[in-house]
Amino acid sequence: MPVPDELDLILGQHIGAPCMPTVAKRSEVNEGDVVGDVKKGLGVPLHAPVAGKVKNIGMSGHPMRTSAPSLTISVNHDTASRVYEKEEWESKKAADLLAMVHDAGIIGIGGAGFPTHVKLNPPADTPIDTLVLNGAECEPYITADHRMMVEHSSEIVEGAKILLKILGIGKCIIGIENNKPDAIAAMKTAAEEGSTYQYLISVNALKVKYPQGSEKQLIQAVTGRKVPAFALPSAVGLVVQNVSTARAVYDAVALGKPLSEKVVTISGKGIKRPANLLVKIGTRVRDIVDYLGGLNPGLSKVIMGGPMMGFAVSSLDIPVTKTTSAVLFLTEDEIDTRPHSQCIRCGWCLDACPMGLEPKEIGLYVEANRAEDTEPLGVFECFECGSCAYVCPAKRPLVQFVRLAKMKAKRKA
């Protein structure tokens, strides 16, 4: 989509420390300039997606919090956008490539937003043997990674090779669910063309199920290994990256282009024209809505992220961040607002839980005012995928119960 007039760059784009602005108010910035950086702590720099002027450093809407510190850039439409030339990267050293990934501001694009350079630098005591690329779209409705794999398969494969070089390993498996045959075909072709004696890249077609985009579930499906509770994939010798992150790594290393735009799925019956859009980071949802022809009557819920784990928002003045995978406009008939009733102990949540927990028990503890005693039930292993609440015939808000249980159990500990 065309660049809007203003962009809101939230300074805390992801997990870790928020950026501090490195430019002053009213200063001119060029496309790709660093406008924010992290001095201390976990984080990556933030870049200006386009040329323009820093209009304000203040607060703007945020998908999860109501508002957050941000930097507003008024776009200078007269400046032509930069053209990035492909550079040779094969001769560069792994450490330099890692620095390029950090400097380009790359984080996990799948949704969690963990800084990529940290994942690519695992602890020395956990040797890595395989890179897993996540092509299992993390949630229903979202098709951004799907389109990315169909349209940019060779870039993803080259990005994978860069990642392999940084990790100093030679094996990469791309996991894709088998409801995307076009993506599997495209990635297989690209992987065959891109594989060399040094770097072996293969595609693994997976059975469709939710939550397969979740790291631990994907690892089990692709490699059969099980990541222990509270441990990182490096504990079983793996590093997992999203396919779109691999594409961003390609952009950063081969083109020298920082992460400043991303593909976002815009869907739901509440939007006039659903689409996958390549948008600049900082684009407000309102501008996207205007570009796609506006909203449909009957719109009931606007969600930043997927329908299972995304956040419902109450305003359109919220910018796209590096972790926004989708903006969904759901109508009344797409959501469920039936009131919840007592647990009938049907046990469906037990069958649905990918972590083998007992969501019904956690809910009963919370209702009995014993939320703080739920740690033995494994609340901290829950990653809130929402499967239990989805299947619950009594419509119980099990994810909410778990969140409250986590909060109280943490306070007790």
Binding site: P228, A229, M308, A312, S314, L357, G378, Y390, V391, P393
Partner: protein, 366 residues
């Protein structure tokens, strides 16, 4: 969004999960959007949908009972269902709870109470059973989800203790000619007979074959439902079809029915005949309330365990107790008490046989 845990708790107390957020964007349609925590999608299933599906699965055996025992089975069932629904509504009113008679759970209890009493009893008995099952067995204990005994079986156990003669003798011989009004308004004493399990228990196998025949005809009659027994328990075919439909819909799984029936068949084969391994497992499954109990009562969500491994142990327990009561106990049929005895053990089994976690933490559990 919320500063403190107390803030969240207050929201919880209000039970209003959906907060209405008012938004008024100038260039967009004015409206109220809903804001809530994820997930935003829910499946189409609901408690009411499950319950009414079970009711639908119980209708064919009910219709069959009219052809086997006459029109009065319909009257008994209607009285039972209506009294269960009324008792549910009154109980919930008395206890200050939301009235949920539309979810169909009281209708199931009503149908099951009628299904497990003899076809010749007075239609007033199910009213007492309904009070026992719904008010004492369900709502006093906290309502749906909190009762630890199957309400219908509790109602039957109450009737069996209070009206032992009627409950053990008002059996009717099956009608083979479709004359469904034959027993209507007649004295039950003149026509009453004995159930196959009672004949077998009191008079032995020879008397049994004399009364019910042997060979393929015997199995066919038992499978179709043409034998003395409780109102809804005789038609093995229709109960089986209903149960399989529930499994197909995903509303129940094979674990409990298979373990209950498998255990009954196995143990009867081992110990149910003259000498070891001489019992008739097929007859054991087709007799009494084995099929109805296995498919519609043992796997009642509320009173059975929730983990699959616990369900198998629970089913084996029910099967073993059933055979024990049938062969050694005072009653000819034992599945009712077998299920009631296993019901309160369900939470214990759940605690022992927890679901397998995805992977334990490094260094083992804390």
């Amino acid at each position: 969004m919320f500063k403190t845990a107390t803030g969240i708790k207050q929201v919880f107390r209000r039970i209003v999960i959906e907060q209405q957020a008012s938004v008024n964007p100038p260039s967009q349609p004015v409206g109220l959007w809903k804001v809530s925590v994820s997930p935003h999608l829910k499946s189409n299933e609901s408690v009411a949908k499950i319950m009414w599906t079970v009711v639908a699965c119980l209708v064919p055996p009910l219709i069959m009972s009219v052809f086997v025992f006459g029109i009065q089975t319909l009257i008994i069932t209607a009285v039972s269902v209506i009294s269960c629904v009324v008792v549910e509504a009154v109980s919930q009113k008395l206890l200050g709870r939301e009235i949920t008679i539309r979810d169909g759970s009281a209708v199931i209890t009503g149908m099951l109470i009628a299904f497990i009493i003899p076809p010749g009893v007075s239609p007033l008995l199910p009213i007492l059973a309904a009070v026992m099952a719904i008010y004492i067995g369900k709502h006093i204990l906290g309502g749906i989800g909190y009762n630890f005994f199957n309400p219908a079986l509790l109602g039957r156990a109450f009737l069996l203790a209070s009206f032992p003669v009627a409950m053990t003798s008002a059996w009717l011989p099956p009608l083979h000619d479709g004359s469904i009004f034959k027993y209507f308004g007649t004295s039950i004493d003149a026509v009453s007979t004995a159930t196959p399990l009672a004949v077998m228990k009191e008079h032995g196998f020879a008397a049994f074959t004399h009364a019910f025949g042997s060979g393929p005809d015997l199995y066919l009659n038992f499978f179709l439902g043409f034998r003395p027994g409780c109102i809804g328990e005789t038609s093995g075919l229709l109960i089986l079809l209903g149960g399989l439909f529930l499994i197909y819909k995903g509303y129940t799984t094979w674990h409990i029915p298979v373990s209950v029936l498998g255990t009954i068949a196995f143990l009867t084969w081992v110990a149910g005949g003259k000498g070891l391994f001489a019992g008739d497992p097929l007859l054991a499954v087709l007799s009494g309330g084995a099929l109805l109990g296995a498919f519609f009562m043992a796997n009642d969500y509320v009173t059975c365990p929730t983990t699959k491994r616990a369900q198998i142990v629970y089913g084996i327990g029910i099967g073993a107790l059933t055979v024990l009561i049938r062969l050694k106990g005072g009653y000819p049929e034992g599945i009712c008490y077998a299920i009631l005895l296993m019901n309160p053990i369900s939470p214990v089994l759940d605690g022992w046989l927890k679901p397998r976690r995805f992977a334990p933490p490094l260094g083992g559990e804390k």
